[in-house]
Symmetry: C2
Subunit: 314 residues, 2 copies
């Protein structure tokens, strides 16, 4: 048995999985992230104790606990290096959990963990090298190399959202200009479209935003209906995402790319455009490169992937 | 004992190294790359036979032969996938060499091989994760992950010179626009400076190019002497190389970057600028990232690194 914890800014969700990756029971508590890290860690320990009790399995049957963090986690030191949602900086997480629970603890970035879930039981199952990209508020990623979650030497590897791929009209939160996530996230899609709408561009979206706040789905729907501005916004996202993917082909050369997160809900409409643009962007046209597919797992991927950190090891 | 072969467009150099990476004897023959691949491969077989004979060691004492190729080599299939200098496409190399010589053969890209040499006996010796960048006619790279040469799933991984990092005034040979090698190679430095000189920019270089063809060293020398255009050219190279290195920090996060190739001969003048610019480019300022140093090994790195392919395995 394995326990996975999805530590979010709002909720802490946890569950027990068996060695096939099947989720047996789950539980969750609010994070209340205004509190000190010690209190949040104590709550996680209690949550695990409750899960063990309710699972019906003995403590000795649990081989590992994994925790997905919405920030930078260094499994070597066991510390959360940096997590803006929780206001954590260099917080020791592995040590207090292991001391209290007497079960090995593994920690990882939440996108890495979602990639691990796809590798364990999702669409990356039959591959040894894959890149999972989650296109949401930002752009996160989980990289599997040679069957292992890859996170680099200081835990900042695979922060692929912060690969610079061009010049952009606004700076990234990280301070640089041109990061992939300022082109290929839902936020980026909305920002560009809003800028054009504010400049008075004609679009069916001008009507929609009178009654509701602009979101990525509205833009994709308008694009599917042929709205010129919405199509331009989507094509701009596709252009830079394709540069990012093509760069990753030339750097990591995985067997498969998986696209997840809110933006990926646009489905085949988006996927077809990206595949075409990546094909046009290939540096080595005659050589095979990774296939591109939509991710499979939904909300539980955070718990399952975290639990699997102990199976595939960071 | 190990044999390394540096297969170049002009010469084929080879040598014997011992298990400490010490080069014992070398030999070389012209490539005559207009010939059929079979003839060139036969010449390499003969060159190895001569080396074994002259080494004084028995054939059974040779554990492996490694070959560095100026193109894309897939060690899994044993094929040279693509090599523009030799006009090779999908040429089987490992199989005919092994059949004839009865010693295991490993193949790799020449920049990968140079990275392997730095990892084996050079400045990367004490690290497990490092990126070697060779800044010459193009930009090549050798990536070591977890103590192994990393080349991706189809042999096109670590073609880092073809990471797009911005918009450029000319397209890359690969067909894309904005590849790192169109900003950070000697060729790129010369192209930009020539463009500005042709536009009539004032520079001490206007005088120099009356008597000699513009090269990277002339530009670096002029920059060191405070020539405004030359400084601008160097700073442009530094700007984009720093974007590339910062991207690699966010993707692979190695412990060390090594800069080699002709451009790196500019020494500390270049290194200081790059370190400063990479520091300014960091997405995660508070988190350590790889150190940046100049590569150490010179011409023999190609033979030594190739020989070491068999020691560290691709």
């Amino acid at each position: 048995m394995y326990i996975g914890i999805d530590l979010g800014g709002t909720n802490i969700a946890a569950g027990v999985i068996n060695s096939e990756g099947k989720l047996l029971i789950t539980d969750s508590i609010p994070t209340r992230n205004e509190r000190d890290s010690k209190e949040i860690i104590n709550d996680m320990i209690q949550l695990v104790e409750t899960l063990i009790r309710n699972s019906g399995f003995k403590r000795t049957e649990f081989k590992a606990i994994g925790i997905g963090i919405p920030g930078i986690a260094d499994d070597n030191t066991g510390n959360v290096v940096y997590c803006v949602n929780l206001n954590w900086e260099n917080i020791s997480l592995k040590e207090p959990m292991e001391t209290s629970l007497q079960i090995p603890v593994f920690i990882g970035n939440d996108a890495t963990v979602a990639g691990v879930a796809e590798y364990g039981i999702g669409k990356m199952k039959n591959y040894k090298n894959g890149i999972f990209l989650t296109l949401g508020t930002g752009v996160g990623s989980g990289v599997i190399i040679d069957g292992k979650a890859f996170t680099g030497s200081h835990g900042i590897g695979t922060e692929i959202g912060h690969m610079v791929v061009g010049d952009n009209f606004y700076d990234c939160n990280c301070g640089r200009n041109g990061c992939l996530e300022t082109f290929a996230s839902a936020t980026a899609l909305i920002k560009y479209t809003e800028k054009e709408l504010n400049a008075g561009r004609k679009s069916t979206l001008q009507e929609s935003i009178k009654t509701s706040k602009l979101d990525a789905r509205m833009i994709f729907d308008a694009a599917k209906n042929g709205d010129e501005l919405a199509l331009e916004s989507v094509d701009r996202l596709v252009k830079y995402l394709a540069i990012g993917i093509s760069n990753l082909i030339n750097i990591i050369d995985p067997e498969i790319f998986l696209l997840g997160g809110g933006v990926s809900k646009a489905g085949d409409f988006l996927l077809d455009k990206i595949r075409l643009e990546v094909e046009n962007n290939k540096s080595f046209r005659k050589i095979d490169s990774g296939i591109i597919q939509l991710a499979e797992l939904e909300n539980d991927a955070g718990i399952i992937g975290a639990a699997m950190l102990g199976k595939i090891s960071l």
